[in-house]
Amino acid sequence: MIDFLAMGGYAFYVWGAYGVTALVIVAEILAVRARRKMALSEARLEPAEVMR
């Protein structure tokens, strides 16, 4: 396990790359979810038009 985490001495580079990638992907998913909630709640305030 220690060997695995050490990445042959390149831990900073390898985990820096994988860690930031994971972080931005999670951030993107959360941002899209938040935007969807926002869009839905704003759409609820809008009265529906009969003709469109």
């Binding site: 580079y13 390898v14 994988y18 930031v20 990638t21 993107e28 704003e42 759409a43």
Partner: protein, 244 residues
């Protein structure tokens, strides 16, 4: 025969996209898991680069996606310009942030790979500089949209910028051939590859994971954009998620 024209309207594409998202999301998650196991443990340590080379399992797929997504964005933009279709403009709008994200990941991981391997985080090498311009193009498209209040005008302006900027994609792709600067050429070629099979397998699996992730998140975003831009339409008001 699939009735494509039927799904070109936001109202019918919205539920279809909703049904597709879980499939792509799960495929992405499972493939990423397999790819990570291969990339981080099964694939042997490189005899020249040590374990630092393991960064390429995210670097190469994200770099491929960054270029490919740009072309797809420009394609949808061109369709929107040519046929004045709303959904294609929304697709182009939905792709830009994910494209920017893939470009950022490609640059970031490339930088962290370059330091132990080349001895520098950054160089104004042809490949790296053109990839940085790709990031600015994505950010430019996003900024241009937010600067124009009227959505349909923003669609057209963004489409023009995307199409003009597409010239950068072949420049990135061929940069390692045209200019002999720091970044090495491709190690993957159809038929003959310079990589060990297990490394190549890991990279391809991670590429498919990146593909499916991009599709899933772009579909999530395009559904949100449809709600944002079609709110007030009767079909939006009738959605079950509107009742909550």
């Amino acid at each position: 025969m699939i009735p494509w024209y039927r799904y070109s309207s936001p109202a019918s594409f919205y539920p279809l996209a909703g049904r597709m998202i879980p499939w792509f999301a799960w495929a992405a998650a499972i493939l990423a898991l397999i790819g990570l196991v291969i990339g981080l443990s099964i694939a042997p340590t490189d005899f020249q680069q040590g374990d630092a080379y393991r960064i390429i399992f995210i670097h190469v797929p994200s770099a491929w996606m960054s270029m490919f997504l740009y072309l797809v964005m420009a394609f949808w933009g061109a369709l929107a310009l040519g046929f004045n279709t709303r959904l294609s403009a929304m697709m182009a709008q939905a792709i830009a942030p994910t494209g920017a994200l893939m470009t950022f990941i490609a640059l970031w991981t490339g930088s962290l790979w370059g330091r132990p391997t080349w001895g520098t985080y950054w160089a104004w090498d042809a490949r790296m500089t053109s990839e940085l311009i790709l990031l600015f193009l994505y950010l430019g498209v996003i900024a241009l949209r937010s600067a124009i209040d009227e959505p349909r005008r923003a669609d057209r302006a963004c489409a023009v910028l995307s199409i003009v900027g597409a010239i950068n994609v072949p420049i990135i792709y061929y940069s390692v051939k045209w200019w002999n600067t720091l970044h090495q050429g491709s190690s993957v070629r159809l038929g003959e590859s310079k990589m060990a099979t297990v490394m190549l397998a890991g990279m391809l699996i991670m590429s498919f994971a990146a593909w499916f992730y991009a599709i899933a998140v772009v579909l999530m975003r395009v559904r949100t954009i449809i709600i944002e831009r079609e709110r007030g339409a009767t079909w939006v008001a009738e959605l079950t998620e509107m009742r909550a």
